[in-house]
């Protein structure tokens, strides 16, 4: 098993060298930083699906939360907003929100004062409606005012690493709420529910212009490590300063990844992992053996989502732009699933391997498809069938097909992944 893993990783290393040789070092170094972030995200899904058997199809939503978090923390402070009535109006909206929440909570407790059955339902629905109206009455003008006078709220000017951490925290909070609502559902319902939740998160982030600038995008978001410009200023040439800067970012990303792997492995190797696997295998028996299945599933869902949030924040930090409309279920949910299925659910190294491999396949399939198309086009022109039209845009679509092909082949011929889960045998 170990030999197989080492061989596969060695192969991966060779693949990276080949890509580096063919595509150049700047391209490859960028892809490697992204691969590190995707590894972290894949580990998050591995925890949820591989360890916990939970079906999360809403990864995109958690990545967006992470992206928003790092933007909010690390983007420079917007004096126009803080100097206007905006904070005050937002405060009022916040109070309205709290009041609404209190109202709904009160309605849900209304049976204590003798309102029962249908009446309680009626009161609760009415409370929801009133709370919604109260909140909208405050937030709508506040949003309009901020958008008109200050553009958007802006950032807090904090360190990007703080933003990564906040990404994890934000993802944890949302995952907790989502888990409370949805984790009791059957697998297929859970899949649909999590997709729906991620779509709601996307709709909110995309349209809350006052908070996120929506489709107008926010950039440049600062790096946690020195930017290439900083190296250039201190006298390095363009090429090496680019590499130095990316190398620095990569080191930081790898450090985060390393810490994550260390923490996960430590927990998973012991009783915690055993308990989680028992819940995944047979939650009825696990409950009868005293494990609090609901709480533990929530725990693992939150844990996994935290890694997704941090990974999503890293990606946005690296590209320096937060563009809500660039998030797509294919690129940000299904891609991660393919990584896990191909790499091997339930095995951390499998998840990392799958993440790096699939990310490279994903980014390389476009130029590769272009080369193939060019070749075929050249040949077909010579034969007299004419050239392939619009090669550029067609090659860009090729990777979606390749992704689908890879996952179906993996399910058929290596259903447990390339580095499958290891059975923990006692010596």
């Amino acid at each position: 098993m170990i030999r197989r893993s080492l061989t596969l990783f060695a192969g991966l290393f060779v693949l990276i060298l080949v890509i580096g040789w063919a595509m150049g070092l700047p391209f490859t170094s960028s892809r490697l930083v992204e691969a590190a972030a995707y590894s972290l995200i894949a580990l998050g899904l591995n925890i949820q699906w591989g360890y916990g058997g939970l079906f999360n199809f809403g990864i995109m939503g958690f990545l967006m939360l992470g992206g928003f978090a790092v933007t909010f923390i690390s983007y420079p402070v917007n004096p126009q907003f803080w100097g206007s009535d905006g904070p005050w109006m937002l405060g009022r909206a916040l109070i309205a929100f709290a009041a609404g929440a209190l109202l709904v909570y009160g309605a849900r407790q209304s049976d204590k004062i003798g309102i029962k059955g249908g009446w309680k339902t009626f009161v609760t629905v009415l409370a929801w409606f009133v709370a919604y109206c109260v909140y909208r009455s405050q937030i709508d003008p506040a949003a309009a005012y901020i958008e008109a006078n200050a553009g958007f709220v802006g950032g807090l000017g904090g360190h990007p690493v703080l933003g990564w951490l906040f990404g994890g925290v934000l993802a944890a909070v949302i995952a907790f709420i989502v888990g409370k609502i949805a984790l009791g559902l059957r697998t297929d319902y859970l899949a649909i529910a999590t997709i729906g939740i991620s779509e709601i998160i996307r709709a909110l982030i995309k349209n809350m212009d006052w908070l996120t600038r929506g489709t107008l995008t926010v950039s440049p978001i600062p790096w946690p490590t020195p930017l290439p410009q900083a190296y250039q200023a201190s006298g390095s040439d363009q090429f090496s300063s680019l590499l130095l800067a990316r190398g620095g970012f990569l080191l930081l990303a790898l450090a985060v990844l390393g810490i994550a792997i260390w923490l996960i492995s430590r927990a998973y190797a012991g009783p915690w992992g055993r308990m989680m696997r028992s819940i995944r295998d047979n939650h009825i028996a696990a409950a009868s053996m005293g494990k609090n299945v609901t709480a533990r599933q929530l725990e693992i869902f939150v844990f996994g989502s935290v890694l997704m949030g941090i990974g999503g924040a890293m990606l946005v930090s690296f590209t320096q732009i937060f563009d809500p409309s660039s998030y797509q279920p294919i690129n940000h949910t299904f891609l991660i699933w393919v990584m896990i299925i191909v790499g091997g659910a339930g095995n951390n190294w499998g998840a990392v391997f799958g993440a790096i491999l699939i990310w490279l396949v994903w980014v390389v399939s476009e130029p590769l498809a272009k080369v193939i198309f060019d070749f075929v086009s050249y040949w077909s022109t010579n034969v007299g069938w004419g050239a392939i039209p619009e090669i550029e845009s067609r090659s860009a679509q090729m990777r979606v097909f390749v992704l689908g092909l890879v996952i179906t082949i993996a399910l058929r011929y290596a259903p447990k992944g390339l580095i499958p889960e290891v059975v923990r045998r006692d010596a």
Partner: protein, 311 residues
């Protein structure tokens, strides 16, 4: 021996033979018998230690459960005496398994209450019942199929420090020392069950009988007040079954475990259980020793069956 409870309370030491037989008011009546001190509905009362004589460790009161149009358990009342091995028999579909699932918290009854050790535990979740000291096995083995036999046992003990992320990350010593204990105990149990040769095998690959043994082994991993055994003999070979039975007897007489057993194997019931409760159509129809049950023509008809007159 692997099963010495650390702080076995003396009052639990209560062998079958040592307890004088309860007088069963009218064991063969078709109506459920409610002793006078029972109130018909006690839902919602918790920790009412006064409700029950401490002699009864499980006390099921007027429980009903319907699935759609089918009434699986119908106003059923029965009890299990502390320290006894109580058998539950009845024809297929009599509601035994449903009743078991209600007692174990896997099914919430429509009506009635389950009193466990003096507390109303109706509606408690299985993992909460585990903490009160009630353990169960399943009729169809519920093994953790992708874990080894040893892991199947090691996961059982509650409150393992290593099951909490904080301890697993920052206090590995604490987790490790408990882990060693748990492992030792699991190995003892595995040896006792003669499963040593398959301890590293995935539980999903074991034979039906071995899975059953593993289930029994899980109940040995902790010190339980009551163990519910759901058809533990099915698929277990005779020799092993003998070991199993003597083990159950020993756990009962020496360590004071109480057992509540559903079983189709009449030999095993006859050997282990006193009293035996007979259920039919969701109700308790009789209770008594195996000899008494066998001697009753009505029960023999309902359960063992009598020849039909055919033209």
């Amino acid at each position: 021996m692997a099963f010495s409870p650390k702080n076995a309370p003396q009052e639990r030491f209560c062998a079958k033979s040592a307890v004088s037989k309860l007088t069963h008011a009218s064991p063969y009546a078709h109506m459920p018998q409610n002793s006078p001190e029972y109130e018909p509905r006690v839902n919602g009362i918790r920790n009412g230690t006064d409700l029950v004589s401490s002699d009864l460790v499980i006390d099921v009161r007027n429980v009903s459960k319907r699935f759609g149009g089918l009434t699986a358990v119908n106003n059923c009342s029965l009890s299990v005496r502390r320290g006894s091995v109580t058998g539950l028999i009845g024809p297929n579909g009599a509601g035994k398994s449903t009743l078991f699932n209600i007692v174990a918290g896997n099914i919430v009854p429509d009506e009635g209450a389950v009193i466990f050790d003096g507390n109303d535990v109706t509606g408690l979740k299985p993992h909460q019942l585990f903490r009160t000291g009630m353990l169960r096995t399943f009729q169809i083995a519920h093994e953790f199929s992708n874990m080894t036999a040893l892991e199947n046992l090691m996961m059982v003990p509650g409150d393992q420090p290593g099951e909490y992320l904080g301890n697993a990350w920052f206090r590995p010593g604490l987790a490790r020392s408990r882990e060693t204990e748990v492992r030792k105990k699991a190995l003892d149990v595995i040896d006792f069950l003669k499963l040593g040769h398959v301890r590293n095998e995935l539980a999903g690959n074991l034979s039906g009988g071995q899975k059953k043994l593993l289930e029994l082994g899980r109940t040995m991993m902790v010190d339980a007040k009551v163990v519910l055994l759901d058809e533990v003999a099915a698929g277990v070979n005779k020799t092993l079954l003998n070991d199993l039975a003597s083990n159950i007897e020993r756990m009962n007489t020496e360590l004071g475990y109480t057992f509540f057993v559903i079983e189709h194997d009449m030999d095993l019931i006859g050997r282990l259980c006193d009293p035996v409760i007979v259920m039919a159509q969701g109700e308790k129809i009789a209770e008594g020793s195996m000899e008494e049950i066998r001697a009753n023509p009505q029960i023999v008809e309902a359960y063992f069956g009598t020849p039909v007159e055919v033209a």
